[in-house]
Amino acid sequence: MDLESMYQEVILDHYKNPHARGLREPYDAESFQVNPTCGDEVTLRVRLDGDTVADVSYEGQGCSISQASTSVLTDLVIGRSLKEALAKLDAFTELMQSRGEAEPDEDVLEDGIAFVGVAKYPARVKCALLGWMAFKDAVGRTSTSEVTSP
């Protein structure tokens, strides 16, 4: 195994300099998610503006993978339509469950494609999905949204 395939530069960058971090007001819904095997946790807030994801803010503790993937998430969904954001959620989830076999679409996932190496390690997939599960859950809790479950 080479560590570089998992810890791509992009991931380490997001880890060291996370985007959109911190909990912000106002928000429409909040979700707290935890990874019971390792204790990683994230609290994530979503603010919708009509059909648009106006803001995603978060706080949490965890490994480089969980922190970086949540940072990437904010890049991908803030300012998008809810529909687009959920499509990205689907795409990212599918990538992570591919066991590293998928060919991720950079147009859709941007920095998210760096996680293809993580998908080879089942124990880390949960880390990568932690923030995304919080996003999914939070969106589900907003009253305005009609979520089609991914």
């Binding site: 019971p36 089942p122 124990a123």
Partner: protein, 429 residues
């Protein structure tokens, strides 16, 4: 063993996979193993699969982030998926337990735990005025846990009787299963009588009154194709050791939406979500019901057993056992002084045949069998109330499986003759 679909089961090929079947007992007598209803034997592929796992990938599952732990987790979850599809379930509906007995206890304890487990668990809660319905032909494993649930909660136990020909007496079904009924628990196939019970009829009535159906599938899943989703039961249990798999592993099947809200039973590691000193929350199913380091290699072994049964083909297994049952019933009926306990023909009955021999206690019949190398079970076979209902203290039980040859039926019949001769009772020619 053959996997060609039209040919009958090739017993000789199957037997070659079971090392124990070629041993001898009691001074060189070939072993005639007719006690698979108690526990089955294991074929080499099952033994090999478990050993291979232990020699290459053994680790604690769902807990580690190293390669061995990954491999072990994959093997464990692949086994779960395989076993689930074998019984018409999804992987999330399969909970591994140590045996079927634990599975039934799990449901019964979850129901008494519901009293203090919050509003979500309400639908499992039972108390005074509620009724639990079982049958008089149950194995103790599907009777005593319900007695105990009633004792803990004040609910009332009721039961179906058994007709003289060994069938459930359904004549008062609509009174027995009524608006107060919370659970209807019964065996798919009786481990004594061989009777296959009418699941559909009982499920339909249980649905009408909103009762949960718990199916004891210990003696059905090993012997014919079973699909829990199609049967429409809420819970079902079976044991690995009765279906060519390892001891120490069983399965509780539960419909997804029930497992989602059912309170936990055993608690500890791997079944939690959040733990604080003050209180804890729990993982989704099936993990919620698998506390502690599980029976990992045993799950792998049971997966291999399912592969083996699939390769032989469950229909072929059932057909072979049908022939064995027919020959056994015919053979025993031909003997004077022998009474078959249970259905006299092969309609809705499996290849488990219990009988009594006039004038010889079952224990003594069993001893004669043993001296001839024929392994049967004697006693009440963990179904004491059923024996009382039949007014017999005990019985002799021959239970067959895919590896039994037709000639072994003849060994059984000859054994009865020998017992009659030895004890000098009726009909010894």
């Amino acid at each position: 063993m053959t996997t060609m679909d039209s040919r009958p089961l090739d017993v000789t090929a199957v037997r070659a996979d079971f090392p124990i079947l070629s041993r001898t007992v009691r001074d060189g007598k070939p072993l005639v193993y007719l006690d698979s209803g108690a526990t089955s034997q294991r074929p080499t592929p099952v033994l090999d699969a478990e050993r291979r796992f232990l020699e290459t990938s053994n680790a604690a599952v769902h807990r580690g982030a190293h390669q061995l732990a990954e491999e072990a987790t994959d093997a464990y979850e692949e086994a779960r998926a395989k076993i689930a599809s074998f019984v018409g379930a999804t992987p999330g509906e399969v909970v591994f337990t140590k045996n079927a007995t634990e599975g039934i206890n799990l449901v019964a304890y979850a129901m008494s735990n519901a009293a203090t487990a919050g509003p979500e668990a309400e639908r499992f809660s039972v108390g005074p005025g509620d009724e639990i319905v079982v049958t008089e032909m149950e194995h103790h494993a599907n009777l005593v846990p319900w007695q105990q649930l009633c004792q803990r909660t004040g609910a009332t136990l009721r039961w179906f009787g058994v007709t003289p020909d060994g069938r459930l007496d359904l004549s008062e079904m609509d009174q027995l299963i009524n608006e107060r009924t919370k659970v209807v628990a019964f065996a798919h196939q009786s481990n004594v009588l061989g009777t296959v019970n009418p699941v559909e009829t009982l499920v339909r009535r249980a649905r009408e009154v909103g009762a949960l159906v718990v199916l004891d599938a210990c003696q059905s899943v090993p012997h014919f194709a079973v699909d829990f989703a199609e049967l429409g039961v809420d819970f079902a249990v079976f044991s690995g050791h009765k279906m060519l798999g390892p001891s120490g592993i069983g399965v509780l099947y539960g419909r997804r939406e029930l497992l989602e809200v059912m309170p936990p039973f055993l608690t500890g590691g791997s079944m939690i979500e959040l733990v604080r000193m003050e209180s804890s929350t729990f993982a989704p199913p099936p993990q919620r019901f698998e506390a502690g380091v599980p029976m990992t290699s045993q799950a792998v072994g049971l997966g291999a057993a399912v592969d083996y049964l699939n390769a032989v083909g469950m229909d072929r297994v059932a057909e072979h056992e049908h022939l064995l049952a027919e020959r056994t019933l015919d053979g025993l009926r031909s003997l004077p002084g022998v009474r078959i306990v249970g259905p006299q023909n092969t309609v809705d009955r499996g290849a488990t045949v219990a009988f009594v021999v006039d004038g010889i206690h079952p224990h003594d019949v069993g001893q004669v069998f043993d001296s001839l190398g024929v392994a049967v079970r004697v006693g009440h076979h963990c179904a004491w109330p059923l024996h009382r209902a039949c007014s017999i203290p005990a019985s002799v039980r021959a239970s067959f499986y895919l590896y039994n040859e037709l000639s072994e039926v003849d060994a059984l019949v000859n054994g009865v003759r020998e017992a009659q001769r030895f004890f000098g009772v009726g009909g010894a020619a």
